[in-house]
Amino acid sequence: MPKISELRGLFKPFTKPLHRQWKWVWQEKGKFNEPKLTLPKALEGRQINIIDPLHEPDPNAFPDESTSWTSPTRHPMFEYLVPPLPREEHPLFHHERPVFLFDSKAKLHAGVDQACLLTKTIPFYELPQSIKQTIGQVSLPDQDELIQSYIRQSIAYDATKEHLPRKKSPLKQRRSFRIEYAIPRSRQMAILLENIIHLCESLGGHYPDLFKRHLYRNIPFYTTYERYGELIHLKRKNEYVLTSHIPLSPIVKRLNRLEINSGDNIDEKIASHDPNGHYVMQANDYQFLDMYPIYPTIDLPSEQLYQDGDEQGWHQRKSNEYVHTTLHVSNDELIHEATTDERLARMIMFAFGSALVQARQLYPDGRLVKPVTVQSIFLLDELFHFVVFQLNTLNYNDTNDKQCNYVWIDKDNYLYDNRPSMVMHNPLYGTERNLQRYVLEKLKYNPVVFQKFLALYLHGVK
């Protein structure tokens, strides 16, 4: 059959009807002469079994089963011809037991309290005392100037100008927005965050432990756990995961006057934990949210297609690699897409999940010897939330077990104030030059946020 490129120029439009032209062309080009099978001279003398690929193979021969055969109907090339398999026939479809799926878009309507119910956690709305003491202790030379320059770079001084997605306002459907070319917000956040992380890494000269850390990007994470007989499946793609070679030491070590053995005695000295039983007393006063008659799983969809087991992003567990911090970079277009409470609830759930996976790998027999601590940081434009999670128990089905997990939440940290509106037709900041001038003059930088970030980053470093 002739190719289209071969037929180019053979059709003359507006002269004869196209089908008749095609008929004439087909009479010429619609033939194919089968090439003769000729053996190269080099192969003539040898005793080689020659297989003619163009002709019918030996009908009596057995089919070659060495490579697994995929049906052409299931080949991606012919996907559009054949309807996809029903969900029920998917190999990962669990017929017997559905789960409640908690993914990165799940919203819990009661926020943090509901997440605490689901994970058996007690929240404290501050950073833990041991981390609070280290804020501002370590500082880098010119750190505030450097961070401000990163902010300026991310907002105004980056060379990218991309076609931003068209805006639309749901309340004013007829409103049209101009096309905008600017630095996309995802890139702004990436510039800011990666520069900050690099700045923190530059402390490696003082703290050689930092050289043993790893930063993973966009790695999958999923796990399943059971809460009062209901399976809850956590699934997410982690934007950044920072790992270290030593696990974080627990923040509260004395739990209900039950001494939990810590691995080595050196940790005991360094980490100033909860000497007066401050957090334990607060935790005893905490009352879990009463959602009667609603179950806390109400916001989660039921799902039967899910993966069993745990996934942290690396295939085989390395001998000493523990999750230190997970960094959640939000991809919300609008700041009101979710509330602060819903975002914090998500962070708590996934911090709990990664702590749980780590605990399961450390203690496969299900007996938690030492609490597992994991940190988590949220970033949306200039907004930071910090969360420190301590996993104290693996028992989520027993009502008699009073042992609870702890979470410390520090929310609404704005790295800078007076963020310029990036709208192109804004008369004040419309041009690039104006934006740069604005960034130099009007931004109000808050130095405490980076100090908190640094304190969390250096947590667990000797």
Binding site: H55, S71, H109, L117, Y228, G229, M291, I294, I298
Partner: protein, 352 residues
């Protein structure tokens, strides 16, 4: 050569096709056996409708948040939509003369549905039916549960109000309520707040109950003079009267097993005492005070301009008022939906 390749591929595909057919055959057989069972299930459900305690499920007390919770699934299904709305030829249904919901849901959901405009056209023939319909802003449709059914005896179903939202297709506001793992939308009454508990019961006790706003009861259970909304015509039909913003019906008196209600139109109806009603006045009371502000505002709502020629000649437009209508007594069983089979030659069908 190509013929040979084609032959071999044809053979392979044939083999695959046979295996596929085998699959489909097996799946069809597996489908058949449940479909044989489904009528039984339907029978069971109809039986358990009469004996409601079978359907209610009080879960074990061990789980702290599951104690004292009664769970009842949502009574609404796609069957309700099939019976109450005209079907659209492309699979969805006509919500009203302005709005098409293009997809027919499998079961009750609280997710908002995307809609299309009818343009005032007939669902089957495509002819223009309503001259003044066309255009307007996009709307989303919320499936609001109008069949609130509670346990026939024992403690009522309790639900908590999670959110109160504006619905594009309803004048009253919608309240998202939940119990257990079940969410549903109802029409919000005037003073309903987030966090309130609303009850639903199918029980008619000897003495009238003391109901609070948002509770759903049979009419017979409520004292006379109560202000109600979302009134059913027949038991189990789904709410028909007093559904718009700020409206309510009043229970006038009780005669044997029937109740006489005054509708928002001041007409009176007599319905069976088992008909479910919701207590209170519907929300968005200031709806009738809305000022359009400009001529284009009606166009955004999908209303096209009119001529002044064919005006009504009823009491509002200059004639003397008519006398009050007699009480409409709704008797007998709920009429069955007529099973209309259209016989048509395929060549006549314009949409083939």
């Amino acid at each position: 050569m190509y013929s040979l390749i084609r032959n071999s591929i044809a053979r392979i595909i044939q083999r695959d096709f046979i295996s596929n057919i085998g699959f489909s055959y097996r799946s069809s057989t597996t489908n058949i056996s449940p479909s044989n069972e489904t009528p039984k299930d339907a029978d069971n459900t109809t039986k358990s409708d009469s004996k409601f305690p079978d359907k209610t499920k009080t879960t074990d007390v061990k789980v702290p948040w599951k104690s004292n919770v009664i769970e009842i699934p949502v009574a609404m299904s796609s069957q309700y939509l099939m019976e109450n709305f005209r079907e659209h030829r492309q699979g969805g249904f006509y919500y009203d003369h302005r709005i098409i919901v293009p997809e027919m849901p499998e079961k009750y959901t609280t997710k908002p549905f995307e809609t299309r405009k009818t343009g005032g056209n007939h669902p089957d023939t495509g002819r223009k039916e309503y001259r003044r319909v066309g255009g307007g802003l996009k709307k989303t449709w919320l499936w609001i549960d109008t069949m609130r059914q509670g346990p026939k005896s024992g403690p009522p179903l309790v639900e908590r109000v999670i959110r109160i939202v504006n619905s594009d297709c309803h004048t009253a506001k919608a309240a998202l309520i939940g119990h257990g793992n079940t969410l549903r939308y109802i029409l919000a009454t005037e003073n309903l707040k987030v966090g309130d508990l609303v009850k639903t019961s199918g029980d008619i006790p000897k003495n009238p109950v003391k109901a609070s706003e948002g509770d759903a009861y049979p009419v017979g259970a409520l004292p006379t003079g109560t202000i109600v909304n979302c009134v059913e015509g027949y038991p189990g039909q789904g709410a028909r009267y007093a559904m718009n913003a700020g409206t309510y019906a009043t229970i006038m008196k009780r005669v044997d097993d029937r109740c006489i209600l005054q509708l928002p139109t001041k007409h009176e109806i007599s319905i069976l005492e088992q008909c479910m009603v919701t207590v209170g006045r519907l929300s968005n009371v200031a709806h009738n005070e809305f000022v359009y502000g400009k001529a284009g505002a009606t166009r955004l709502l999908g209303i096209r301009p009119k001529l002044g020629l064919f005006h009504k000649k009823t009491s509002r437009f200059g004639r003397r008022p008519f006398r009050a209508r007699p009480i409409l007594v709704i008797t007998g069983e709920k009429p069955e939906y007529p099973n209309v089979i259209k016989l048509q030659h395929p060549s006549i069908d314009p949409y083939r």
